[in-house]
Symmetry: C2
Subunit: 207 residues, 2 copies
DNA sequence: AACCTAAGTTACTTGAAAGTAGGCAAGGAA
DNA sequence: TTCCTTGCCTACTTTCAAGTAACTTAGGTT
């Protein structure tokens, strides 16, 4: 690692990439606070201490910004759920691990953008691409549930509806969670997941 | 009931009110399909076979349309949850009944608008009013849960997080449910609620 | 007959935000 | 030195949908 004050071409490329990510992350935060339409490119630029045309130096247009935010959020969810898989645990254990990381991701910028903003403002083309990603995540949930049912570690149920119900309960956290509130994401995740695992009805067994 | 072809003043008043509701309901459907911003007043007018200024004859502006759609949806949720209460059942039974009607409501126009569109496009003033209504519904869930815990019909848990988790799981139905799909709302409600009540973990007891 | 009101219409204004044209400064390259 | 590229700016155009002005027509009222 040289500490030369001069930048190589590679340095400049990665600086540019960092700035692009900063644009996206700042936009994601603004979208999450104000909504997509209520956020102007001037707003985003102001938060970055630059002007609007600078934004266009890093991204094609506003639509691309949202598309990328949601795509990154979905990639995070997808890869997190893959990382957790195949560590030799039961399907039940893996599902729990996936659920925990799911909450972590949807409570911060890109992940939150997936839930709060969604793909509604995008063109049909972009939506199709993102739906593909969503589907992969959904199938991950379903297949874990199916495996769990087969193993006996998960109660028999319709895996499709169960997957929607779980992801719904966890996604919803992104809508009401506030970093200023008195509940931190880890605690929320713990309790919500406990409810989903054990149900509202008391169990005679204490296991 | 006279069948005179002439209309009384009361007739005309109620016809006007019906038309206003038609504007709101049509708008809600369009909002649910396309989103608030992607729906122009011209779109709504076209669906009603009139022109845009006609819409303004029935409502003040676009914001009022959304406000009313969400307000009506929330009123439906609130009054449904009150109707169900106090029939002498356990808190658990009442909660189940509330959950069933909750799904019914959020899968059709005004109710769906509450979840799919939300209040993000509104002014802070309107949002405050609607948040008040939402809070009442949330407190209904919480108090049922608290009562259930006290009675022993519901498992001990944090009522706040539990209420959010339940309403989240059920609200999410409004996001993926499609009338064209092969799952009808009653079936969805039955299965999701069963999962929330019993949990993912198998129970040794078959009760 | 003269008039009013309800319920529409056509044709316009307006405003906000997306997106663009073109300039300028700094820093390395020839 | 001269020139090119990068990165950012000021100032502009464009677009699109919300909202409005002012007319029309049909019925009922006096």
């Amino acid at each position: 690692m040289s500490d030369s004050p001069w930048k190589t071409a590679a340095d400049r490329r990665s600086e540019r990439e960092e700035k692009r990510i900063a644009v996206l992350r700042t936009a994601a935060q603004a979208f999450n606070e104000l909504g997509y339409h209520a956020t102007s490119l001037d707003d985003i630029a102001r938060r970055l201490n630059v002007t609007k045309p600078t934004i266009y130096y890093y991204v094609k247009n506003k639509e691309e910004i949202l598309f990328e935010c949601v795509r990154i959020g979905l990639e995070m969810l997808d890869s997190a759920s893959n990382d957790v898989t195949g560590h030799g645990g039961s399907a039940y254990d893996e599902l729990v691990a996936v659920m925990i990381t799911y909450v972590d991701i949807v409570t911060i910028d890109f992940g939150m953008c997936v839930i709060r903003v969604g793909e509604e403002p995008l063109t049909e083309d972009s939506r199709r691409t993102l739906r593909g990603l969503k589907r992969r995540i959904d199938l991950k949930f379903r297949s874990l549930i199916e495996r769990g049912i087969a193993e006996g570690s998960i109660v028999p149920c319709d895996p499709k509806i169960a997957a929607f119900t779980l992801s719904g309960a966890l996604s919803w956290v992104a809508r009401w969670y506030s970093p200023d509130g008195d509940l931190d994401p880890a605690e929320i995740a713990r309790q919500s997941i406990a409810l989903l695992l054990n149900g509202l009805r008391p169990r005679p067994d204490m296991g």
